[in-house]
């Protein structure tokens, strides 16, 4: 026994056939001239945008020629170097502090004091 056709599938199939017919009719219209007003407005927007880009490039000499990706990489690299330098500096400071407080320098100072006391008349 055959299953009854799915109504939604049938509707979609009929719509697709109508779409194909419409597309065929529309392809004949594709070679129509685009509206002149649209062409004028699009080209005006393009000229404006190109002029703005040139002005931006002129305001910061050389910047306009640099690709944006290069700028980002340069900034990221500078940040990484700064972060590494700060981390090294902090580590060095911490080492120095710990040595002065509880390390060799503190013990030597105590020995010096004991010797000085023992040498006193």
């Amino acid at each position: 026994m055959n299953r009854p056709p799915d109504p939604l599938e049938s509707l979609l199939r009929a719509a697709a056939e109508a779409e194909t017919a419409d597309a065929t009719a529309a392809s004949a219209r594709e070679f129509e001239e685009p509206p002149f007003g649209m062409e004028t407005r699009v080209l005006a927007a393009w000229r404006e945008s190109a002029a703005a880009q040139q002005a931006a490039a002129a305001a910061v000499p050389g910047l306009g020629r640099l690709p944006l990706g290069f700028l980002w990489r340069a900034v990221a690299c500078a940040c990484a170097v700064t972060a590494a330098a700060v981390a090294l500096n902090v580590q060095h400071f911490a080492d120095t502090q710990s040595t002065e407080n509880s390390g060799t320098y503190g013990e030597l100072a105590m020995v010096d004091t004991v010797i000085a006391q023992s040498l006193e008349p």
Partner: protein, 199 residues
């Protein structure tokens, strides 16, 4: 028309446009307009004028020409801008009113009954009304769902083609299509149920 023909050299024209050559820009506009018009006609919101949206897409293309790297064919890049602009406009449509049985005209009701009973009896006019009905149902869906179903079922595009046109991944296309079909089926069932209740 010669520059718009098959021999149109996209790379050379783009190079001239980047040198601010007005004639080349005009030729590029005329070369791209049929493609943009086709995409806009297929995916625009029903309420928005074709020419307005077409102009919006063309302006976007020309303002961003410097971002086109040449990694993909220019037609793909242009299609993607057109499709995404249509999608954005579809998202901007706030209200998506439900399609009710009472909203349908006599012809639409007849077609719906014919589709349910004997779909092979539909003539060209009936098919056109079917398309109208499907568009009404699709208008109830979210923009991305509407777009994927239009491409898959009305235009008969493959997943690969939809990937190229939208920039979505293959998995995303399939998941969206699956969910969209479920939603469409639910909407259709509700419409048909209402029909039966009224009858």
């Amino acid at each position: 028309m010669s520059e718009v023909g098959l021999e149109f050299d996209v790379a050379a024209c783009l190079a001239r446009v980047r040198q601010n050559d007005e004639a080349a820009a005009r030729a590029l506009f005329r070369h791209l307009h049929p493609l943009v018009a086709r995409r806009v006609r297929a995916y625009r919101p029903r309420r928005m004028g074709e020419d307005d949206l077409c102009q919006m897409v063309m302006i976007k293309i020309f303002q961003n020409l410097d971002q086109y790297s040449g990694a993909v064919p220019l037609e793909h890049w242009v299609s993607r801008i057109a499709v995404n602009t249509c999608l954005k406009q579809l998202r901007a449509e706030k209200s998506r009113p439900e399609l009710r049985w009472s909203d349908l005209g006599d012809e639409q009701r007849e077609v719906l009954e014919a589709v349910t009973a004997a779909p092979e009896t539909l003539d060209a006019h009936g098919k056109a009304i079917s398309k109208d009905l499907v568009e009404h149902l699709l208008a109830r869906l979210e923009p991305a769902s509407r777009l994927v179903l239009t491409m898959l079922h009305l235009e008969g595009r493959s997943v690969e083609e939809i990937k190229a046109l939208t920039g979505w991944s293959g998995a995303l296309v399939k998941v969206r299509a699956f969910r969209a079909r479920q939603k469409l089926r639910a909407l259709f069932a509700r419409l048909v149920q209402k029909e039966e209740a009224v009858l």
